[in-house]
């Protein structure tokens, strides 16, 4: 048995637990060790999206339309895929501008407009009311169903019950109390409601576990797993129909779309995603954790819906109560009670956050601006306003709950849960154009947003809200059937003859069309005021100003005491002093002895104030305070204009300085390179001089010997002269090579580029050196195909190249047994020539270095240098100029092989048959 007192005790016990959690989290936060500052709590708090609608209504919807309940959860999943882009931008904007609610965001974007803030608040309150009443309805229905345990009956209508005997009223009162205690504890709304968020996160866990428990019970307790359940459902034609996509009807896309928009536009979602966010990086995890939560809570929706439809005869039990009714029918009192607690947690979470968000909006964007406007209230002169602010918020919470309850009593009875919720979704979607266009389009204007939102709201009211009055019997039914006064074109469910759509799609289409259309049309034909332009730029380009607060709008000196007094009125003495100290510390200014505040400080205070009373009110307050100092509207406008110019100018400056920075970096790099070149030049010079001195010295000393010793015999004389001639030749060669190298490196070499046959080049070089090889009896063989495709190059330089390599090989080959092989191979991209010798070889560590200037391989450690050290450098210069490569392979003691490649002449794409094992494929010319 489940007596009424047990259910009530369980509900109270659960809510007390929430109180305890919230209290504990608040205490921890007070001591600076917050519970909520982690991405998991953040993601769970976003799951406040799943309300009683999800818990009970999804099953109800699934029982009617199969997968038709899913778009409400697929939409947010899609929206969160863009979360890192869109939500992060809104988060950043809200942090920079101390945004406290969705109304504040819109008002702040469009020039801190009171009118817009107020309008958003009104739309939110009116639009959300059905949604709030839905939660009350769900809780009250579930209580009444549970009360009749174990008998499953159709729900008792609360209208039959006396006012004070209605459980829904007491539930509403309890929720209001929680919201007041933990949602309006602070004066500064940008501080986080740690306790509330912790409780919400806990509720998200409870509702998920409760729903999954029921799902597991139905799937594996009542049935034999998913397969059995779906098989039994498929056997009944009525249920088989639900397993098809058609069951979702034409609502699929519109619902996905509206759910995408509302995930950020619902006041409570904005509250948990943006206002309660403690760290932007938490979004990184939340963008996949939240969709994961949605997935998990939806797995068992269809099984429960099918289970209920199979278990209960058609029409005897409301599908919205299957989650409770199934455990009850199976005599599982504790599971039923747990399901009831799950539903309760889903409802309370939503109601608490929603009322707190709405009360902040009502206070900051509706009541405070009105109070400030009416001079006779003398608000601006009141000593302490913080108490008043709290009172306004607390009263609003109570009033919102009462209104929600009344709506539930008077109207909400006649609808299923899901359709009530969708009415609110369509209302919240009206904020989307103003927000999304506002953060990406600087041209979106205040009047545009205002017109669009009013148009959308009016159409929404006409096509969804008013007909719901008619359906509840508050208006004549003929209003829906025939239109007002019989005008068929104005039928609220078929506006302008748009027939055949479901009500939500129909309303969404017309309201968003009116909203976006009016918004864009008016914005385009509008002239924005300066403050709108400034705010628009600050919002759209929020990522361009990393950390830097934009230049203040207020110029000139304001008496510091006036500013302090104003801050104290709203924030209280302690908090106000904290703010000024914080400013003094962060800006390194002395405020103790200062008499006047500068524009920056005024701006700073305005931002902090906007955290309490909203951007628009804060602006008015600051303006009235300053007005006493003779800053008139004219002057303000002038200041604003100047400021926007300054902003523009500073942006240009920033750009310039960035360009300068880049130029500096380039210059620095160039300078480093020049220094390096200079050093290389010095090295080069000293080596060249050294190299020149060696032959010169020997020429001079042998000449001196000849000169001083006239009595030398002929053979000796002949020998000395030979040395002198050889050394002179070496000197000439060296100088020629230095000249060549300089020409190549400075680009002054005159290249005579033609199509060259490399085989011909090799023949030429070989015949030039043939006698040299024969003198030392070194075998010289050439292996080349008959026909070599031409390459692009300078013939003389190529001959020089081959001669250099050949004479290099000759130098290192032993006389008599030496052997040099020249091979030519055609590859896919070019011709490869190799010159192999069987000489000394090159140590591995020197193989790279030999292409550097003046690096000489010495014959052993004590041997003389055998070349000038420039030949290979010139070779490399030639090859690289022709677009090829040169390298060497060598084993010490077994000779060395030099390779170079030169690409084929351009325009000769078709490579000939590769004569060797070259990689096949088309040449790229």
């Amino acid at each position: 048995m489940l007596p009424g007192w047990l259910i009530i005790a369980a509900a109270f016990g659960y809510v007390s637990l929430l109180f305890a959690i919230a209290y504990y989290a608040d205490r921890r936060a007070g001591r600076g060790r917050g519970l909520i500052a982690n991405p998991y709590i953040y993601a769970l708090s976003i799951a406040v999206y799943c309300t009683a609608w999800t818990f009970y209504g999804s099953v109800g919807l699934a029982a009617k339309s199969g997968i038709g309940f899913l778009p409400i959860y697929l939409g947010p999943t899609l929206a969160f895929l863009l979360g890192w882009i869109v939500l992060r931008k809104i988060l950043r904007i809200s942090k920079v501008h101390h945004v406290t609610s969705i109304a504040d965001l819109v008002s702040s974007r469009y020039g801190k407009s009171h009118l817009l803030g107020g309008l958003v608040t009104i739309i939110a309150v009116v639009g959300i009311m059905p949604y709030l009443s839905l939660q009350l309805k769900a809780v009250s229905t579930s209580y009444n169903v549970l009360l009749h345990y174990p008998e499953v009956t159709a729900a008792v209508t609360p209208a039959d019950m006396p006012f004070f005997g209605d459980t829904a009223l007491w539930i509403a009162a309890m929720m209001a109390l929680f919201a007041i205690l933990f949602g309006t504890r602070h004066i500064d709304a940008t501080e986080h409601h740690e306790g509330m968020v912790a409780a919400i996160a806990f509720e998200s866990v409870v509702k998920l576990i409760a729903f999954t428990s029921v799902g597991l019970f139905v799937t594996y307790g009542l049935f034999d797993g998913f397969a059995d359940l779906f098989n039994q459902a498929a056997a009944e034609p009525r249920l088989a129909q639900l397993q098809l996509a058609d069951a979702a009807g034409g609502q699929w896309l519109p619902l996905t779309f509206v759910a995408m928009l509302t995930i950020i536009c619902l006041p409570r979602q904005f509250q948990v995603i943006v206002v309660e966010n403690t760290d932007e990086s938490h979004l990184k995890k939340a963008i996949w954790l939240f969709p994961l939560y949605l997935l998990l809570i939806n797995i068992f929706v269809l099984p429960i819906a099918f289970g209920g439809l199979l278990r209960f005869p058609l029409g005897t039990v409301d599908a919205d109560t299957f989650v409770l009714a199934l455990p009850m029918a199976e005599r599982q009192p504790w599971l039923a009670l747990f399901a009831f607690i799950g539903g309760l947690s889903a409802a309370t979470g939503m109601v608490i956050v929603e009322t707190v968000a709405l009360s902040t909006m009502i206070c900051n964007d509706l009541i405070m601006p009105l109070f400030l406007r009416f001079a006779w209230l003398h608000m601006a002169e009141r000593r302490d306003l913080s108490g008043l602010l709290l009172a306004i918020r607390r009263t609003s919470i109570a009033v919102i709950m009462l209104l929600g309850y009344l709506y539930f009593r008077l109207i909400g009875e006649s609808f299923a849960l899901a359709s009530i919720g969708l009415v609110s979704f369509a209302a919240a979607a009206q904020f989307a154009p103003a927000i999304l266009l506002g953060i990406y389009w600087k041209g979106a204007s205040r009047r545009g947003a205002l017109t669009g939102m009013i148009a959308g709201f009016v159409v929404w009211g006409y096509t969804l809200l008013v007909p719901s009055f008619a359906l509840s019997g508050w208006l004549e039914a003929s209003f829906i059937e025939n239109g007002p006064m019989g005008i068929a074109l104005l039928r609220p469910y078929a506006l302008f003859g748009l027939d055949g759509l479901d009500h939500i799609t129909h309303s969404l289409f017309w309201s968003l069309l009116a909203n976006v259309g009016a918004f864009i049309a008016v914005s385009l034909s509008d002239r924005q005021s300066t403050i709108e332009r400034i705010q628009g730029t600050l919002f759209v380009e929020v990522f361009r100003q990393p950390g830097a607060e934009p230049a203040g709008l207020w110029q000139g000196a304001v008496p510091l005491n006036d500013l302090r007094a104003m801050a104290e009125r709203f924030l209280g003495g302690d908090r106000s002093r904290e703010i000024f100290t914080e400013y003094a510390r962060s800006h390194r200014v002395d405020l103790v002895h200062a008499t006047h505040a500068d524009g920056d400080l005024v701006q700073f205070v305005e931002r902090r104030l906007s955290g309490v009373i909203g951007a628009a009110s804060a602006r008015v307050m600051v303006a009235t305070t300053l007005k006493g100092e003779g800053v008139g509207l004219e002057e303000i406008m002038q200041i604003l204009d100047e400021t926007s110019q300054v902003l523009e100018y500073s942006r240009q400056l920033e750009q310039k300085s960035r360009e300068l920075e880049r130029a500096t970096t380039d210059l620095k790099a160039a300078n480093e390179r020049l220094t390096e070149l200079d050093r290389m030049k010095d090295d080069f010079l000293s080596t060249v001089t050294h190299e020149l001195r060696t032959p010169l010295t020997s020429i001079r000393s042998f000449s001196e010997i000849l000169h001083d010793s006239p009595d030398l015999d002929l053979t000796e004389r002949q020998h000395f002269l030979t040395i002198i001639i050889r050394e002179s030749e070496r000197l000439t060669r060296l100088i020629n090579q230095v000249l060549d190298l300089t020409k190549i490196e400075t680009g002054r070499m005159k290249w005579q580029m033609t199509d060259v046959d490399l085989g011909d080049v090799i023949d030429h070089a070989v015949s030039a050196l043939r006698h040299l090889f024969e003198e030392k009896s070194i075998a010289l063989d050439v292996h080349a195909p008959d026909r070599v495709p031409p390459i692009h190059g300078d013939r003389d330089q190529l001959i020089q190249l081959v001669i250099n390599l050949l004479s290099n090989a000759e130098k290192f080959c032993p006389a008599g047994t030496g052997r040099v092989d020249v091979s030519l191979k055609t590859g896919a991209r070019g011709v490869t020539v190799s010159v192999a010798d069987n000489g000394l070889g090159i140590p591995p560590n020197e193989q790279e270095l030999i292409f550097e200037k003046f690096h000489q391989v010495r014959a052993g450690n004590t041997g003389n240098p055998m070349g000038s050290g420039l030949g290979l450098v010139i070779c490399r210069g030639i090859v690289e100029h022709l677009g090829g490569q040169i390298w060497v392979r060598s084993t010490l003691g077994k000779g060395a092989t030099f390779f170079f490649t030169v690409p084929y002449a351009r325009g000769r794409g078709d490579a000939p048959e590769p004569a060797s094992a070259a990689v096949g494929g088309a040449a790229d010319g």
């Binding site: 997968i67 899609l78 882009i85 797993g225 998913f226 397969a227 059995d228 098809l244 990522f543 690289e880």
Partner: protein, 97 residues
């Protein structure tokens, strides 16, 4: 050889937002949109088609959902890497200067 080639100029672009991830997320969103579009649902909406006794349509929806979540998780882990500036390429000391 031009000092500071393409890589260097791309790194100092005036957009401060280090957002190489944007394109990835937009692509993922488009994928999600296509997967959940009513047109593709029709493709998997075959009466009688089942996977382990569960209607193909349901399996398709939930599996696509899981895939999207997994891809988002994978991508969000990489945001840091993607946002990191391209390391400057070391200039090859060549040509003998």
């Amino acid at each position: 050889m031009e000092p500071n080639g393409v890589a260097a100029t791309a790194g100092t672009d005036e957009v401060i937002e280090p957002d190489h991830a944007t394109a990835h997320f937009v692509a993922l969103f488009l994928l999600g949109f296509v997967l959940f579009s009513p047109w593709l649902l029709r493709v998997f909406d075959a009466p009688g088609a089942e996977v382990f006794g569960i209607p193909l349509l349901f399996v398709y929806l939930f599996v696509s959902w899981v895939v999207l979540i997994a891809l988002t998780a994978w991508l969000s882990r990489r945001i840091g890497d993607l946002a990191a500036p391209v390391p400057p390429q070391p200039e090859a000391l060549s040509d003998g200067g």
